[in-house]
Amino acid sequence: MYDAEKYRDKAEVADWRKRDPIDSFIARLRGEQLLDDGDLARIEREVAEEVESAVRAADEAPLEPVEDLARFVYTRELP
């Protein structure tokens, strides 16, 4: 499943990218002196590390055993 981009032209998407809320938020925080380059670099590094570590943990974890197929269908066995 992916977006084959058959509904909107690329210019429209590019235009919306200019209004990316994360970029806008960063610009505003900078404007109000609440964030400097050092803070931003640190946040980006911490987030990247957290994501990489989660991906690594998922890749390295064993597959869920087939015996657990029905686990979590219900919260508990009926008495």
Binding site: M1, A4, K6, Y7, L63, E64, V66, L69, A70, V73
Partner: protein, 328 residues
């Protein structure tokens, strides 16, 4: 006769239907510009234009309702719902309107509506896109339900559904779309409302529909290697069920293994089993056995999805265990 895929066979039927009858139009999510979630309608928007190949909003109840209205008004709509899971959003329209209006109006209204939907698992699309809920629709008077399991039926059944004055639900198993097979566009279509013996055998009947038919055929080949001849009955039409064909195969083989990708509880296989009990109990040499999906939401992880769905080894094992019974 040419070699093609199930997907191409669906497209061939859609194209012919749109060419033959100006009342026919196709509507659904992504059917136009995207070419269909499973690429069944690729190229049709370009050939027939946006009046007849209509992209809809993600609003199943609304566009199925619009299809019912169009059918009432004399059109021949083909409504595509991306998967049977999403069709639940349109259950009210299908069950409370499409299936009832003929009867409630004392025969004054007619709903020649065709609803196509993908069903089944096996493609790692997880629990909200992989279920087999054919039996929900096969339960409802007023609907007819078809499940093409071959390339030829993928075309013939859709064209036959369009000839019906009443609503027809067509289930296309998502695992079958890339399957190759022979297609004869000029052949006289087989009666779509009857089951078909896909492989003759004398020892046991494997009764299946849709995506389970190719699995049953592979299982039959494996069993043949050890001298067991399995007959494979493709149900084809799920409402009405072809009672005669079900009882006839049981009378020939005296054993039945039912393969159904639905969950066993309340399954279509349960209905087939009950009909065998009612109509051929004294023909049986062993209790009927069902091979169904595990009673879990179909998982995303490949190894768990494979474990949840009926597979060839389970069918083979079920037959061997049945043949080994000493009380049979």
């Amino acid at each position: 006769m040419n070699r093609t895929t199930y997907r191409e066979a669906v497209r061939s039927a859609l194209r012919d239907a749109l060419r033959r009858d100006p009342r026919v139009f196709l509507m659904g999510e992504d059917v136009g510009r995207y070419g269909g979630a499973y690429a069944c309608s690729a190229g049709l928007l370009e050939e027939f234009g946006p009046e007849r190949v209509r992209d809809t909003p993600l609003a199943e109840s609304t566009f199925v309702g619009a299809g019912i209205g169009a059918a009432l008004g004399g059109a021949r709509p083909i409504v595509e719902i991306m998967t049977v899971n999403f069709s639940l959003l349109a259950l009210d329209q299908i069950v409370n309107n499409a299936a009832t209006l003929r009867h409630m109006s004392g025969g004054q209204l007619s709903i020649p509506l065709v609803v196509r939907m993908a069903t089944g698992g096996g493609r790692q699309l997880a629990a909200q896109h992989s279920h087999s809920l054919e039996n929900w629709y096969a339960h409802v008077p007023g609907l007819r339900v078809l499940a093409p399991a071959t390339v030829q039926d993928a075309r013939d059944m859709l064209l036959a559904a369009l000839q019906e004055p009443d609503p027809v639900i067509v289930f296309e198993h998502q695992y079958l779309y890339p399957m190759e097979g022979d297609l004869d566009e000029l052949a006289e279509p087989a009666n779509p409302w009857r089951a078909a013996v896909r492989r003759a055998g004398r020892d046991v009947s494997l009764i299946a529909h849709g995506g389970s038919v190719p699995k049953a055929l592979v299982a039959a080949e494996r069993l043949a290697e050890s001298g067991l001849e399995a007959e494979v009955l493709d149900l084809r039409c799920l409402r009405p069920l072809d009672n005669e064909a079900i009882l006839a195969t049981v009378r020939r083989t005296h054993r039945a293994v039912l393969i159904d990708e639905g969950w066993r509880s309340g399954s279509l296989a349960a209905e087939v089993s009950a009909r065998i009990m009612e109509g051929a109990f004294y023909e049986l040499d062993a209790p009927v056995v069902r091979v169904c999906s595990a009673e879990v939401p179909i998982p995303y992880a490949r190894h768990l999805e494979e474990a949840a769905l009926p597979q060839v080894p389970q069918i083979v094992d079920a037959v061997r265990a049945m043949m080994a019974r000493r009380d049979g």
